[in-house]
């Protein structure tokens, strides 16, 4: 997918929210959905099981209108977190311009976070993409949980963010950090334009 099409004057960003099951990816999208004016957003497609787990993926198109003469659209996707949906994850990752890795801040979820991160790297490689070349930001979600249950930001950074990408604490349920994360990944993605890297 071409990120910027000068001929049709369109910018289309595909951003994928990646992370282990129940880390809050869909919650991020729901919050964003709630904050985007109706005229700007498309229908949010969410294929979920009866227990509200993402079965396939969530999709939220956002129309940012004309920016610098470009029709700018964002497509936000989430992947199903559960291990056994890897084929779906790989499919959703295809053509992604940027990835938000939503990590669960709970101490007991650290392994799941690590596993999912490795899975992300592997799946990107399948598409021939080196994770180091793709815009990625980290979001440490559920920071609203009691301190004794969660890891501190420094600990999380140490454990997960060994590449030193931008990271944000978040409470997606209440919206804290959601737009900060989105803004950061957007900036990274769009800045690649200036460098002329194909997306």
């Amino acid at each position: 997918m071409s990120l910027v099409n000068f001929t049709t004057r369109e910018i289309t960003c595909k951003i994928v929210y990646y992370g282990p099951g129940r880390s809050g990816k869909t919650t991020n999208l729901h919050y964003i959905y709630g904050r985007v004016p109706e005229s700007r957003r498309g229908r949010m497609v969410s294929l979920a099981t009866q227990t509200d787990r993402t079965l396939f993926f969530d999709f939220l198109p956002i129309d940012l209108g004309q920016i610098s003469g470009f029709t700018t659209r964002f497509q936000l996707y989430t992947v199903p977190g559960q291990v056994y949906y890897n084929a779906t994850r790989r499919l959703v990752l295809q053509g992604a311009d940027g990835v938000v890795f939503v990590a669960d801040s709970q101490a007991r979820q650290l392994d799941e976070n690590l596993e999912s991160l490795q899975n992300l790297q592997a799946n990107l490689l399948e598409h021939g993409i080196d994770i180091r070349s793709l815009p990625v930001v980290m979001q440490y979600n559920k920071q609203d949980l009691p301190r004794e249950l969660i890891l501190q930001l420094i600990e999380l950074d140490d454990a997960l963010n060994f590449r030193g990408v931008p990271s944000f604490p978040a409470d997606a349920l209440h919206g804290n950090g959601v737009f900060e994360t989105l803004k950061a990944i957007t900036e990274l993605v769009l800045r690649r334009l200036a460098q002329g890297a194909p997306a």
């Binding site: 910027v4 000068f6 001929t7 004057r9 910018i11 919050y31 709630g34 904050r35 985007v36 004016p37 005229s39 700007r40 940012l64 209108g65 004309q66 920016i67 610098s68 003469g69 470009f70 029709t71 700018t72 209440h174 919206g175 737009f179 989105l182 803004k183 957007t186 900036e187 769009l190 800045r191 690649r192 334009l193 200036a194």
Partner: protein, 658 residues
């Protein structure tokens, strides 16, 4: 009854955005080539999004391109009211006729047709008549035709048969553009960020936006201090509006004194601003400028391929110059199109005028049209007033002509000059034409009726009637020679009738010549005759002696023949029923002189015109062959028509006395 078009409502003052681009493009097309593109054009939108503005802009633009167009703007209510008044006054037919001659009919707010059966039937009839005649209808409503309650099926299908477009609520960028433009118009200046923060609120209606701007302007005027973005939001209570989106309006801080709170703007709006800045940085500035230029010109209906190709380059040499040159080319295209529209409205709609890449082609088309439509035939320069001999016999006609020149189109319109062949009608007509053409901006059509008919036939044949009409409609005076040739030419009379009315209404001079009074001319329609009689009819009679003298002197002078008073007296005394026959006589004498290589004199004239001396007479008789005689003057004469032997003058006098 018809509302005048508001001069402020033009395309230039209409802010184009994504939500209304289609409607504006369609409206422009309709204004530029009424009746041919989308007919009817049906524009619908919620209240306050610019329907009326667009409708009036169509009218204003069409009028600007073709001032002769009959444009009517009215709301449905006004239409209904007028209809009822006309019915009450027993003028229903007149009402219908009046609207059937409208070139562009603009009706606002047709949603009020709901449950008005008789008006629906009336409008159906009118729109059928107008469409059949190729006249444009534009309608607006607050909903699409199908949703207008209790609307006749036939009307729905008719309304939907052209183009139905909607105008959406303005998006953020358009709102900013509107606020900027309107505050500029009002001379109000706001610090950066104020208008943007106001526009970030979801206004669904431009009128609401205007109300907000009014409050900002008023507030700033009263407080004499520049407004800040926060103060503006607080003043307008925008935080609640933004908060309606759902979730929480992030209220950070809030430390200040009682009642004061700092509201952080809507998260999405802030995000949008950030993205805009990032995109601005990411998309190189020149690309953004080019992309904006493309949007702008594309919105106005121009092909922007040239600019698009710049975007495909890595680093164009001088993008700003390219944009400027594109803009110049568009301006030139506009000028050409406007010019062509004057000559030929049909040609103005060509796509070549919408593509700066084809500017050269457009220039060529324009020059072709210009050449093709190059002024209708004008007066002959060989027949100026200065050479028109004046005497008692034509003094009246000349005086009238002078008065016409003093106030063309007002005093005697039309002027009809009658007279036998050769008495100087054509000369007077052309002389008038030359004088009229000297007025600034004058375009004088001066030609023979036969040429007029031939041109019309050519136009019909080439399917260029619009071109033909436009060509003549452009003229500021119409002078037709030999009007009797119109007899039996129904189509020409029809066209002349229309031109006549146009010229008469616009106080442009009309002059005609003919051999006899119009009502005695066969094959002329009564409506033409009555119109010809409505001006002034003057007659040119046989030239009197003064005129004859003047003509002779002028002719001799023109041929470099020295003036001989005896010759002039001799010739002027000879009877002549027309200037032309007199000139013919003189020509014979001059030719004879040239042939015999002798000076022109009264004696020679007598010799030539009266048959010469007795000796010569005998000699000529000797030349006779088959009844045709070749005279020494070079002309061919029939023997039977010539009196060879004259009785002596004494005998003739006696004969006469008897």
């Amino acid at each position: 009854m018809t509302t005048a078009l508001n001069p402020k409502f033009t395309f230039e003052t209409f802010v184009v955005g994504a939500a209304n681009r289609l409607a504006v493009t369609a409206a422009r097309t309709v204004a530029e080539s009424p009746g041919s593109a989308y007919n009817p054009l049906f524009i619908y939108s919620g209240s306050g999004l610019g329907k009326t503005h667009l409708l009036m802009a169509i009218g204003a633009n069409a009028k600007r391109l073709a001032p002769a167009l009959n444009v009517e703007y009215l709301t449905l209510d006004e239409y209904v009211e007028a209809f009822h008044a006309a019915i009450a006054a027993g003028q229903g037919d007149a009402f219908r006729r009046r609207f059937q001659t409208v070139d562009i009919l603009l009706i606002d707010d047709v949603q009020f047709l709901t449950n008005r059966r008789e008006m629906q039937a009336e409008l159906l009839r009118l729109s059928e008549a107008l469409q059949t005649a190729g006249r444009q209808i534009v309608l607006t409503s607050d909903r699409p035709p199908i949703e207008i309650e209790a609307l006749d099926e036939r009307l729905i299908s008719r309304f939907s048969g052209g183009l139905v477009v909607d105008i959406g609520a303005p998006d953020y960028e358009t709102r900013v553009a509107i606020l900027r433009r309107k505050s500029e118009e009002r001379g109000a200046e706001f610090p950066p960020g104020v208008l943007e923060s106001v526009a970030a609120a979801e206004f669904t209606n431009v009128r609401e936006l205007m109300g907000v701007l009014n409050r900002l302007v008023a507030y700033q005027a009263v407080n004499e201090t520049p407004l800040t973005a926060e103060a503006a939001q607080e003043l307008l209570g925008l935080e609640q509006r933004a908060g309606q989106g759902g979730g929480k309006a992030v209220a950070a801080g809030g430390g200040g004194r009682g009642g004061e709170r700092i509201v952080s703007p809507d998260e999405f709006a802030a995000f949008l601003t950030d993205v805009t800045v990032t995109v601005g940085k990411a998309v190189e500035a020149w690309r953004a400028r080019i992309a904006e230029a493309i949007l702008r010109w594309e919105g106005e209906g121009y092909r922007t391929r040239r600019l698009e190709s710049l975007l495909e380059q890595e680093t164009p040499l001088a993008p700003d110059e390219e944009i400027a040159s594109f803009a110049r080319d568009v301006e030139r295209l506009r000028a050409l199109e406007a010019e062509v529209a004057q000559f030929d409205p049909q040609s103005a709609g060509q796509s070549v005028f919408r593509d700066p890449e084809r500017l050269a082609e457009a220039e060529e088309t324009a020059s072709r049209v210009r050449a093709g439509a190059a002024p209708p035939p004008g007066p002959s320069a060989a027949l100026p007033f200065s050479t028109f001999a004046i005497g008692a016999s034509n003094q009246l006609a000349v005086n009238v002509a002078r008065e016409v020149l003093e106030e063309p189109g007002r005093r005697y319109n039309p002027l009809v000059v009658l007279g036998k062949s050769g008495v100087g009608k054509s000369h007077l007509l052309n002389a008038l034409g030359i004088e009229l053409a000297q007025q600034p901006g004058a375009i004088v059509a001066c030609l023979s009726t036969q040429a007029f008919i031939d041109e019309l036939i050519g136009a019909i044949d080439g399917n260029r009637m619009e071109w033909w009409r436009a060509r003549y409609r452009r003229a500021t005076a119409l002078l037709l020679d030999d009007i009797h040739l119109l007899g039996g030419k129904d189509r020409t009379q029809e066209e002349l009738f229309n031109l006549f009315n146009l010229f008469h209404d616009l106080e442009r001079q009309l002059v005609f010549t003919g051999p006899a009074h119009p009502k005695t001319l066969p094959g002329l329609e009564p409506r033409i005759v009555s119109r010809l009689e409505g001006g002034l009819v003057v007659e040119l009679v046989e030239p009197d002696r003064d005129v004859r003298r003047a003509v002779i002197r002028r002719t001799l002078w023109a041929q470099d023949v020295p003036e001989d008073p005896a010759l002039i007296d001799y010739l002027a005394d000879r009877p002549a029923d027309s200037v032309r026959s007199l000139a013919g006589l003189l020509q014979r004498v001059v030719s004879a002189a040239a042939a015999q290589d002798v000076p022109v004199s009264a004696g020679l004239a007598r010799e030539v015109l009266e048959g010469g001396t007795a000796a010569e007479r005998r000699r000529t008789v000797g030349f006779r062959t088959s009844g045709i005689v070749v005279s020494s003057a070079g002309g061919v004469r029939s023997r039977e028509k010539i009196v060879w032997d004259w009785a002596s003058p004494g005998d003739r006098v006696i004969e006469d006395l008897r």
